[in-house]
C-alpha cells in the first residue's frame, strides 16, 4: 500500500506544481520540462505548507489530506483552463538525446528504490523523524523536543533542529500501508531525474540549444548519483550503490540541490519574462530548499543577497524581485518558528560564524587536532604545536574536489569558463545573479568549513565538502547555459 501512496504523492505533487505554474503561453515549456519543474515545485510547496501546519498545531493526520485536496483542486482547475493553458513547446533536444535523458532518469529512479534505506543520515536523521511524524503526528513532540532535560536524561534524536522536508515526504508515503523502508524513498527518487528538466526549462529563454546542453550536462554530472565511484579501483564496482558515497537514496543533499536548481531556473525565467507568478513559484521552490536541510537556509540567504547585489545595476526588475523574496521569506518563516521550539544542540552555524572566528582561521588558526577521533580515543598523542593551519586543509579539500573528475566530471571547468568576465556577459543581469549565487554558495561553504567546531579531516572523511557543493550544481549549469552563444551547436 505504501507503494501506491508513494506513487499517489508523485501525482499529487506534479498536479499541484503544474497548477501553480503560469500558462504555457506565458511560460513556454515542453512536456518533460513541465513534469520535472512541476514535481519539484509541488514537492517544495507540500513541505512548506505542512511545516506551516505544524507551527499552528495541526497534526500530520490532518495535514496529510492537504496535498490530496490541493491535487484535486489543481486537477479541476486544470480541466477548466485546459483550453487556455496553451500548447506545449517542442522538447529542446534531439530524439537520441531525449532517449539518453530518459534512460538516465529512469535508472536513477530505479537505483534509488533498488535497496531499502541504507545510509546513516537517511536512517538516523531522516527516517527517524519520518516515523515521529507518522506515529506522533508532529515534530513538537517529546520524540524531538525531549532531548535536553534538567536531570540529564532525554529522548534520542540526532541533530534535533534539522528541518522536516524529507521526513514529511516519508511520513506522507507511509500514511496508508505503514512504514516501508523501500517505498518511503519514492518521493525522493526523482531529484536527479527532474533537475535536468528544470535546467532545460530555465535555459529555454536563452536558446533551445542552451536548454538541451543544460539538460544533458546536468544528467552527466556524476555526483547527481554518487561520488568517488571506483576510487579504490575497478574491483570496488561490487560496492556500487552500497556505500556512503551514494548521493541517491534517502539523504537530503540531492533534495536541496534539486530545489535550489528549480528555484534558480524559475527565477531566471521570471526575470526574463518579467512575470510575477513565475517569481512567486521561484520563491516557493527556494523555501522548499530550506525545508530539506539546514544548509538550505544559508543558501536562501545567499540567493537573496545575490538578488540585492544584482538589483544595484539596471535592469532591476523589482516587479519580480519583490514577490520572489517576499514569498521565499514567508515560506521560510514557519520553519524558523518551528525551529525556535526545537533544541539546538549542535550545528549552530550562525554561532560559529563570528568575525573573530573567521579572522582567526583566515589568519592561519590551527586545525582542532585534539578533536580528531584518533586523538580523542587516546590512540595518538596530540601535537598542538605542529598542527596544520585549518585554512590550508580546507583549501586543499576544495581543490581536490574541483579536480575530482570521477565525482564532478568537468563541472568546475564549465563554471570557470562561464564566469561573466567580459562586458557583454556582465551586462546580462541573469548571469550576474547566478554568478553571485554560485560564488556566494562556494564562499559560504568555505567559511562554514573554516570555522567548523569539529575536526575538519573527520568531516572530510565523511564526504564534506562534496556533499555541500553538490547543492550548487543547478545554478552552475544554468550559468554555463547563459554563457553559450545562441547559435552554437
Amino acid at each position: 500500500m505504501s507503494l501506491v501512496t508513494g506513487l499517489l504523492f508523485l501525482l499529487c505533487a506534479t498536479l499541484i506544481g503544474r497548477a501553480l505554474l503560469p500558462t504555457r503561453s506565458i511560460l513556454s515549456r515542453s512536456r518533460w520540462e513541465e513534469l520535472g519543474v512541476a514535481y519539484l515545485l509541488g514537492t517544495g510547496v507540500v513541505t512548506v505548507v505542512i511545516t506551516a501546519g505544524f507551527v499552528v498545531g495541526l497534526s500530520m493526520n490532518l495535514l496529510w489530506w492537504l496535498p490530496l485536496l490541493g491535487a484535486a483542486a489543481a486537477f479541476t482547475l486544470d480541466a477548466k483552463r485546459n483550453t487556455t493553458i496553451g500548447e506545449l513547446a517542442e522538447v529542446p533536444w534531439t530524439k537520441p538525446i531525449g532517449l539518453l535523458l530518459a534512460v538516465l532518469a529512469s535508472a536513477a529512479f530505479l537505483a534509488t528504490i533498488a535497496l531499502p534505506l541504507n545510509e546513516f543520515d537517511a536512517i538516523y536523521h531522516w527516517a527517524y523523524r519520518g516515523k515521529v511524524l507518522l506515529y506522533d503526528g508532529t515534530p513538537l513532540n517529546e520524540a524531538i523536543t525531549g532531548m535536553v532535560n534538567d536531570d540529564g536524561y532525554g529522548r534520542l534524536v540526532t541533530h534535533p533542529n534539522y528541518p522536516f522536508g524529507i521526513p514529511i515526504l516519508e511520513a506522507w508515503t507511509s500514511h496508508w500501508g505503514g512504514w516501508h523502508a523501500r517505498w518511503v524513498q519514492l518521493p525522493l527518487a526523482l531529484w536527479s531525474a527532474c533537475l535536468p528538466m528544470a535546467i532545460a526549462f530555465g535555459l529555454r529563454g536563452y536558446s533551445t540549444r542552451a536548454a538541451s546542453y543544460g539538460a544533458v550536462l546536468t544528467a552527466a554530472t556524476p555526483i547527481l548519483y554518487s561520488y568517488n565511484f571506483l576510487e579504490e579501483g575497478f574491483d570496488s564496482i561490487s560496492m556500487a550503490g552500497l556505500t556512503s558515497t551514494l548521493t541517491l537514496g534517502g539523504g537530503a543533499d540531492l533534495a536541496v540541490m534539486a530545489m535550489l536548481g528549480v528555484a534558480c531556473a524559475l527565477f531566471l525565467r521570471a526575470r526574463q519574462l518579467d512575470d510575477r507568478r513565475t517569481a512567486i513559484c521561484a520563491g516557493l521552490a527556494l523555501a522548499g530548499a530550506v525545508m530539506m536541510k539546514n544548509e538550505g537556509l544559508a543558501l536562501a540567504g545567499v540567493c537573496l543577497l545575490a538578488l540585492l547585489l544584482t538589483t544595484i545595476l539596471p535592469p532591476r526588475r523589482i516587479r519580480v524581485a519583490i514577490p520572489f523574496a517576499a514569498v521565499a521569506v514567508l515560506g521560510i518563516a514557519p520553519w524558523l518558528g518551528l525551529r525556535a521550539q526545537l533544541p539546538a544542540i549542535d550545528e549552530n552555524y550562525s554561532e560559529q560564524m563570528t568575525v573573530e572566528n573567521v579572522m582567526h582561521y583566515l589568519g592561519g588558526g590551527r586545525e582542532l587536532v585534539e578533536k580528531a577521533p584518533i586523538a580523542m580515543s587516546g590512540r595518538q598523542q596530540v601535537d598542538l604545536e605542529n598542527a596544520p593551519a585549518r585554512i590550508g586543509l580546507v583549501l586543499t579539500s576544495f581543490w581536490e574536489e574541483f579536480t575530482d573528475l570521477r565525482s564532478w566530471g568537468f563541472l568546475w571547468l564549465l563554471l570557470i569558463v562561464a564566469l561573466p568576465v567580459t562586458r557583454q556577459r556582465l551586462a546580462d543581469p541573469e548571469a550576474r545573479w547566478l554568478t553571485f549565487v554560485v560564488l556566494g554558495g562556494i564562499c559560504l561553504y568555505f567559511l562554514i568549513l573554516l570555522v567548523t567546531p569539529w575536526n575538519f579531516p573527520s568531516l572530510r572523511d565523511k564526504g564534506i565538502p562534496e556533499r555541500l557543493l553538490v547543492h550548487l550544481v543547478g545554478p552552475i549549469l544554468l550559468m554555463f547555459g547563459t554563457a553559450l552563444p545562441k547559435g552554437e551547436s
Binding site: K131, R155, A220, I345, D346, S377, W454, N455, F480
Partner: protein
C-alpha cells in the same frame, strides 16, 4: 567553440554515470534488492600481531597452566582463507604456550573431538567447516564457554543458544543496521513491548569501547519507533563521533554503576547465557529518571562494538525497582 568542446567533454561522463547506475541495479538485483552483508568488504582483523592478552586475561595468571585453548586454523596446504595470516596464528600459539597454556590446533580437522576440555576456542579463518560447526556439540565437549572469533564469521546468536559466549575481534565493514543479532533483538523487543512503551537505557557497567559502531541505541531507537527510548545525556551520545567520545568519557567518570549491585536473573528470555547478564540494581538518579517519566522497561546493555544477545536484557521497571529495594535492605 571552446564552450562546446568543454560541454562535450563533460557530456562523456554520461557513460560513467550509466556504468554506475547499471552496476548498482544489477548488483542490487543479485542480492534480491536487499542490502546484503555479503556485498561489503570482508571483515578484517583488528590486531594482526597475534598477542594473546585477550585470551590470557580471562584467567588468573597462576591458573593459565591449567587452561586449554583450541585454535581452529586452516589446513597447512590450504589456499588463503580470510582471517588471521598463518604467521599471526603461529605468533598467537607461541604467545599462549609461553604462558604455559595448552594449545590444540585443528589444522582443518573436525574441531568437535579436539574441543574436549577446552576452555577457549579461537576461530582464525572462515574455513567453511568451522563456520558450520555444531555449537551444541562444541559446547558439550568444551569445559569453558568462550569463543574468540578473529575472522568475524561465526554466528554469535547460534553460539549463544548453545550457551557459548562468542566475542568478535574482527572489524566489520557492513553497517550496524544490517547486524543479524540486532534484527533478532528488534523482533523480540517488538513482541515483548507495546508501541506506547517507554524504555530507559541503562549501561550495565563502564562503557568499555568508544567504537562508534557500539551506538546500538541509535538503531533500536529508529527501528523500534514509536517506542520511547531514554538515555543519559543523549545530546552527546547521539551527536557527532567527537561528542560521542565525550559522552563515553563523561559516563565513565560519573560511574552510576558503582552505586549498584550486579543482579543475576533466574531466567533470560533471549540469551541462553544465564550467568552473564548485564542486569544490576538502579542508581538513585536512574530511579528518579524512570519514575519521573512514563517508563515501563529498563533495557540493560553492555557497550560493545559487536551486537551480542548476551549483552542485552529487557526488564520491567517494577522488577528493577524490586531488585534495588531488596539490595538496599
Amino acid at each position: 567553440m571552446l564552450l562546446s568542446w568543454l560541454a562535450r567533454l563533460h557530456g562523456v561522463f554520461t557513460a560513467w554515470v550509466l556504468l554506475f547506475l547499471i552496476s548498482s541495479l544489477v548488483l542490487a538485483a543479485g542480492t534480491d534488492f536487499r542490502a546484503d552483508r555479503g556485498r561489503y568488504p570482508d571483515s578484517e582483523m583488528i590486531s594482526n600481531n597475534g598477542r594473546p592478552r585477550f585470551i590470557t586475561q580471562m584467567f588468573r595468571p597462576d591458573d593459565l597452566k591449567n587452561r586449554t585453548v583450541l585454535i581452529l586454523d586452516a589446513p597447512a596446504d590450504s589456499p588463503n582463507y580470510i582471517g588471521m595470516e598463518p604467521h599471526v596464528v603461529d605468533n598467537l600459539v607461541r604467545g599462549l604456550e609461553s604462558k604455559q597454556m595448552r594449545v590444540v590446533r585443528t589444522a582443518g580437522d573436525n574441531p568437535i573431538p579436539l574441543a574436549k576440555g577446552a576452555d577457549v576456542a579461537v576461530l582464525t579463518c572462515n574455513f567453511q567447516a568451522y563456520l558450520d560447526v555444531d555449537f551444541h556439540a562444541l559446547a558439550a565437549q568444551m569445559k569453558g564457554i568462550y569463543l574468540f572469533d578473529y575472522s568475524g564469521y561465526w554466528d554469535t546468536a547460534a553460539a549463544d543458544a548453545a550457551g557459548l559466549l562468542a566475542q568478535n575481534f574482527a572489524r566489520a565493514y557492513w553497517p550496524q543496521w544490517l547486524d543479524p543479532e540486532l534484527a533478532l533483538f528488534v523482533d523480540y523487543m517488538k513482541e515483548k513491548t507495546s508501541a506506547e512503551d517507554g524504555i530507559l537505557l541503562v549501561p550495565s557497567r563502564r562503557l568499555s569501547t568508544i567504537a562508534a559502531r557500539a551506538r546500538w541505541f541509535l538503531a533500536l531507537n529508529e527501528q523500534l519507533s514509536p517506542r520511547r527510548f531514554y538515555l543519559r545525556n543523549p545530546q552527546d551520545g547521539t551527536s557527532f563521533v567527537i561528542e560521542y567520545f565525550e559522552w563515553v568519557q563523561e559516563y565513565n567518570k560519573l560511574a552510576p554503576w558503582k552505586q549498584t549491585k550486579k543482579v543475576r536473573v533466574p531466567k533470560r528470555d533471549f540469551s541462553a547465557l544465564h550467568h552473564l547478564t548485564p542486569t544490576r540494581t538502579l542508581a538513585p538518579e536512574e530511579i528518579a529518571a524512570a519514575q519521573s517519566r512514563d517508563i515501563q522497561w529498563i533495557l540493560y546493555w553492555d557497550h560493545q562494538a559487536d551486537f551480542r544477545l548476551v549483552d542485552w536484557e529487557l526488564v520491567p521497571l517494577e522488577t528493577a525497582l524490586q531488585w534495588t529495594a531488596e539490595a538496599g535492605r
